[in-house]
Symmetry: D2
Subunit: 306 residues, 4 copies
């Protein structure tokens, strides 16, 4: 049974993601993203699950920077998890009993409408995390009557779920990735994603345009691009890319090779099945058989066998 | 005397930035970035100074999102402020007296070497902000002997500076911007920057490449690009751009017009003097006189006067 | 009644083109393309009609070079004329009488099948032009029994048309242009073409790519591109372009202005109605109203009125 | 001793080119370019030398079209031959004797200054070719006193050279190529050129830009581009390209493979030493070792060995 580290404590959305990504794994909660990734790096765990981006908040920059600068890890899977908040109470508590609510500020913001409508008189207090709020509320002598957090936090701390899907918008999603120590990427499925980090050789104008051209010419679409500071002063960035396809595919391999030749450094972060199962629409001339045929054509030319 | 809001409390790096950007202004400390910008929007203040990015931490996303989504504001100036930490103590305290240090976790991280070398036995405790740490230490009955924070925090709270420039790397910089309610941009200086936000019309592959081409063809270099989620699901982004030059210049105006035609929406965030005073190297054929001459040429063609 | 010069002698395809382009004009046959264009330049004629390209033979390079290097002229109209050959004989001659055929070598090539099928035993002799062949055959004492040439040559020289559309392929087309001395271009029709010549500033790699980008970014499609030697040695070229649209349109005007700024020299050759009446499919954001709206937007930004 | 066909008759510039390219070859003069190439195709000759372009006149279109449409041939060498005209006379003729000059019209044009200065009263008559003029003048009963043509024509026909380098501009050059039946290309020299023909898949706007991008992204510079009609109507073209480098090089091979995948058809015309011996300036990241290193990098990623 593999052991997988995650951003704890118990009852986080990250644990919920881990339960879906690796249902049979032993789960190792860690205090923060760096600790979870370090557990995977050191061998204390066989892998880790961490958040990468949120559809409202954006990139989880600590994860981006850890994957770019820390000892290499390989993304092997991803998951899109809806961010759904539940109202969690000690058994027996009813709606009318709730005077004080405890939760993380992000949850306060995202459940503003529910709170105004259903608990207009309740005092809402900020907690360090939703899981911590649930733990606190689970104690008999807690000054708080309810926590807002993921349903899984209620399960962990023996709380009842008085309300579900409390968020003002029900389409907020967090993208989690599962990582492992370096090794062969998962086999291609036809609907894969490839993640990588690229450091420019020199920060000349047009460098980003050149990088994008390496993908475009091979018909590889990008699904995400993030700039991050290199730490060497304002105006110096490196880039995170997510691209359609798998490094085992010729078009992706050639694009990555081109980027590798262009850049000071490219770090491969993994090729893995897309959570949304969407297969890319291939541009004419960029399928595996197109590359194989072109390779045979050039070989024949080089040896005079045309 | 203008009143300028800033990210408080008193003694923050943001106040230090404001003192340089607008030495004569009345200063209005605000609890967070949104509050500072709202003060400028509402007329409570005549403007605001907020952090935009840090050379190590990256973008201040709340500022990016406020400028993109909130009521429009215009950036009128920028400042690059070195992040320099000082060791602040109550008068009379000496190095050997220091048993407990209080500061923000980012400062703990960035002053790791100093602490290990000079205060190896001190307990270091996390504070909500460096300014809050200074305030706390200024109290006679504080359990803490020293705060780490900006020199300006020491001035505010009557503390002595036992050590300066404590950070492990002395080139960390935060970029602050001053904003005002919409109006004419500052006059061009020849070394200006233009900031804007662009929302794609449809998220087709190659859309970013098209946006960058609008700048490249007019010889306008980008100095920063940040993707931010639109909130409509993973994989949907809008973009912050900083470009060389001033909207009053023909090349910048034409590039922005092209972007405006290409995109669903472009929000102009301002043209203002560059903090680093660097004048752009103009690509051949993109100076003001080149544009003027070309405009006259095309007019002559259209009227048959060639 | 305007007088229009053309590539003579009487009875050429060029005369046929002129009769369609300017039915009421007085026609001035000239010995060659240069003479016809010089007649227009000098004022001896009010304009000229000359061939520009042929769908099988390609560009008429003397026309391209005259328009690029000679005193400026403006293309005001174009015509696509099918190249249709007729078998022309003195009245009374029948098919069985034909022993010797006289025509230009290009016509021999293009009528190969007809000659093999219908006149397998005839001797075919090369003439300097199809019009000259018709003139020769029109003489009573000619050693030739038939000429191959345009129907119009038969009319001119009093010959009967024994067969029409003799060519092996019936889709060969020659494109003729009508030129005038410089002046305002014809008014836009919505289905126009713009011709121009561009000389590179320096022949650096990627210069052609840069030129094409000036068109592409403004959504202006090119319908023809020809490289011609500058005369300064192998490997040095200038370019003829035909583009969709009219210089009066904003997108075309901006593309030409951009090219003008990029290149050592751009010579405008004219905007005129397309012979095929095809209206361009405008790329999103490149219509007149898009440009007008964007222009207003940038004006508002510049004056602070957003 | 190989037999090489060329554009005859004896005494042409093409023969002069052949003598330099293949000094020891048996020479087979042919009536026109097609006949020379057919001799190579059929095995009647082992190869052929034909003109490809001229620095003043431009492309020799019959050569371009033969290489594109006829049975495949491989360019194995090129030569840049200065076009130098000599005044050729029967032995004993002196300058003052010359009353009538015979030569090809192109030579009349290019020697205009010499004729005006040195032979202002001579009658100049047009000949079908410079070699034919020399042959005619070599006959004792010729009505002409002098021919203008290549020095080699004088040697052939027993004429004396009364003047050399008569042309108005002394930098006119014709580029000749030597072709053979398909086989392995000559070994790379480090200063090579690659010729090819590309037919677009569909004639969509931007197709040429896409083709050029295939070269640009791999750092392969183009030295010549010619559009030629496909014969399927005005507005439909195919393209001749000359590129720096040899198909055996990785960057050229990848660019050609990319073009092959993009286009309906690409015909390889040969990789051969450049006549001007110029080695290309490689763009960073496009050397053989860069490609080899990148290939090893991607292999390691694919197998998990990073």
């Amino acid at each position: 049974m593999p052991k997988i580290a995650y951003l704890g404590p118990q009852g986080t959305f990250c644990e919920a993601a881990l339960r879906i990504l690796a249902p049979d794994a032993e789960r190792l909660p860690c205090a923060n993203v760096t600790a979870a990734l370090d557990a995977a790096r050191s061998g204390e765990a066989d892998g880790a699950v961490v958040p990468l981006e949120n559809s409202v908040e954006g990139a989880i920059t600590v994860t981006l920077d850890e994957l770019a600068w820390g000892d290499p890890l390989l993304i092997t899977a991803e998951l899109l998890l809806p961010v759904e908040f539940s109202l969690l109470v000690r058994p027996g508590t009813e709606m009318t009993h709730i005077k004080r609510v405890y939760t993380h500020p992000a949850a306060i913001t995202q459940c503003r409408n529910f709170l105004a409508r259903e608990l207009p008189d309740a005092v809402v207090v900020a907690a360090p995390s939703t899981a911590a709020a649930a733990l606190e509320v689970s104690m008999e002598d807690s000054p708080y009557d309810a926590a807002i957090g993921p349903a899984i936090a209620g399960e962990h701390y023996g709380l009842d779920e008085l309300a579900a899907r409390m968020g003002d918008r029900d389409d907020t999603v967090t993208r989690f990735v599962q990582v492992a120590r370096p090794g062969p990427p998962p086999v291609p499925t036809g609907a894969d994603r490839t993640s990588l980090v690229a450091f420019l050789r020199d920060d000349h104008p047009g460098a980003l345009l050149e990088m994008l051209s390496e993908f475009a010419v091979r018909g590889v679409n990008l699904t995400r691009i993030e700039s991050r500071p290199t730490g060497d002063g304002i105006g110096r960035y490196f880039f995170h890319f997510d691209a359609e396809g798998h490094v085992a595919e010729a078009r992706v391999g050639e694009a990555l090779s081109g980027l590798h030749r262009l850049c000071a450094e490219v770090r491969f972060l993994g090729s893995y099945p897309r959570a949304d199962r969407v297969s890319p629409q291939l541009k004419h001339g960029t399928s595996e058989s197109d590359f194989t045929e072109a390779s045979g054509w050039i070989d024949k030319i080089r040896t005079g066998g045309m």
